[in-house]
Symmetry: C2
Subunit: 306 residues, 2 copies
């Protein structure tokens, strides 16, 4: 089970009634946060989430609305008695280390260690993987004028274990866990049991994909292939804004809906609305015509993916 929440859904500027876009993904009490603009630490509390659970902070890019809240977040973690035994990993495009150093000029003595991961990839190859909080994260370079990363966060699950098959083979219950973890065991009578003998098929991983800020392009649908939840930006829904949106390297509702449809995503949450877009839900139909399972996300929207 993966709990996903968007504490904020706004773009560019934090507003009195809309926090800046970010995404909280929690698995078994450990959390990943994507982006941390001004006020994100407040939005997280307002959404009822626990900052102390944060293990991995992913930054998409270095525009202020995605990263200016970093120092406040780190100090709040420090105030919540996070100690030397609870490191925080911060990952992002190359340069993230320099950004963290500069922004923490006003937080010089944090009581917990920070591990920096600058994401890199071979030309045409797979991006570097991060394994944290029980989850696997991969990144895709987007198209936004400055280097911006899309993220796929995935929970890989153990195959389905069959107690019936195990009982039929007279395997002691204490060995179920070992077999389920993929190890071969030898019983007291010398019989060797392989995991395949007690498994009942694979379970599909659970995944969340996150795209903002970018122009759309084909590889995005491949990267988000069959995802359980695609979170993707919709600055405006009005097609008359297309010129402006292309110039600023962002996406309309329909751009994200097309990616969702092509990727085979189960559902699409639109986010990162322009401050000028007061009622995003008014534009839901233009997206749903292309991809019916579209939701115009609002601050605090949450789902448990199973």
């Amino acid at each position: 089970m993966l709990d996903v929440c968007l504490p904020g859904t706004g773009g560019m500027i934090p507003l009195p009634n809309r926090w800046l876009t970010c995404c909280w993904i929690e698995y078994q009490g450990a959390a990943v946060l994507i982006d941390c603009g001004e006020g994100t630490q407040i939005a997280i509390k307002k959404a009822g989430l626990k900052p102390s659970r944060l293990e991995l902070l992913l930054i998409t890019h270095f525009h202020a609305d995605h990263v200016a809240g970093l120092t406040g977040m780190l100090l709040t973690l420090a105030n919540s008695a996070r100690g030397a035994d609870q490191p925080l990993t911060i990952a992002g495009p190359p340069g993230i280390g320099r950004i963290v150093s500069a922004l923490t000029i006003i937080a010089p003595r944090l009581p917990f260690p920070i591990e920096i991961i600058e994401l890199s990839w071979e030309r045409g190859g797979m991006p570097q993987k991060i394994e944290k909080a029980g989850l696997t994260v991969t990144a895709l370079p987007l198209r936004h004028g400055m280097l911006c990363l899309g993220y796929r966060t995935e929970l890989f699950r153990k195959p389905i274990f069959s107690p019936q098959k195990a009982a039929a083979l007279d395997i002691p219950v204490k060995m179920y866990k070992v077999l389920h973890a993929g190890e071969t065991v030898t019983l007291e009578d010398g019989l060797t049991i392989r995991p395949e003998q007690v498994l009942d098929g694979l379970r599909k991983p659970i995944s969340v994909c996150y795209f903002t800020d970018t122009r759309p392009f084909d590889t995005m649908a491949d990267f988000a292939y069959n995802t359980d939840l695609l979170i993707s930006e919709g600055m405006y829904y009005d097609e008359q804004m297309r010129g402006k949106i292309e110039e600023k390297n962002h996406m309309l509702f329909t751009d994200s809906a097309r990616i969702a449809a092509k990727s085979g995503a189960k559902r699409l949450w639109l986010t990162h609305y322009s401050p000028a877009l007061e009622r995003p839900h008014d534009g839901i139909r233009v997206a749903q015509k292309i991809f019916p399972d579209t939701v115009t996300a609002h601050d605090g929207i949450a789902i448990t993916l199973e």
Copy 2:
């Protein structure tokens, strides 16, 4: 007339129901902001104030709850079409230039110029004065472990002009303004008129004093002498917190009330409450016993001083 507002009244951490401490002082459409923690730009909008009017940003010290919102504020000014002809002055303790440089790593191209003033003073002498937005600001070094400044913002007003005295001397109306501004004029018949001949006494300046974060000490009352509004921190009201408050270099409600009483201030607004102090008003009596005109300020509290 001086309009004063506290968009936020919290200390240390921004909360869903309380913005971080800051103070907005506006005179004839030009504004001074004291401190800019995370979320201050949102608090200002929520209080109905216009960020575009900002001419002078004063920073008390470099703890994050007083300065982490600086980048977001600058970008919001940039988004409100502030151009090259509208510089912003940022003043604070020595080092403020370095802090602004570091924090603006994520806002590298602002469309308006920033003027930095690093406040300094001779040992035992008067602090450096700033004249901006029609107001005069002086600073006092406080006692907070790191260098922290208290600010006195003052509107010096022209003396009272007497149209009766001017009419009795047959002075043309077009010369009233010149005389009121303090210049001597010569009439067509060669008669010289000095300003004193048409004035009716001086008008007391209007002032606002701002103290946070600090331990109390005697000079503070001198610095706030006869002020119209003393804004001063009260982290807690419970005297049992005295040990903790002294250790952390802050003030209790009673500390600020004593300064108010000694200074001859007209009124006291308490602010910069601990996140643990949910209902500051519950402690109003301990302060009012020492200084009756005490108010436990809340986010958005405003007054027009005349």
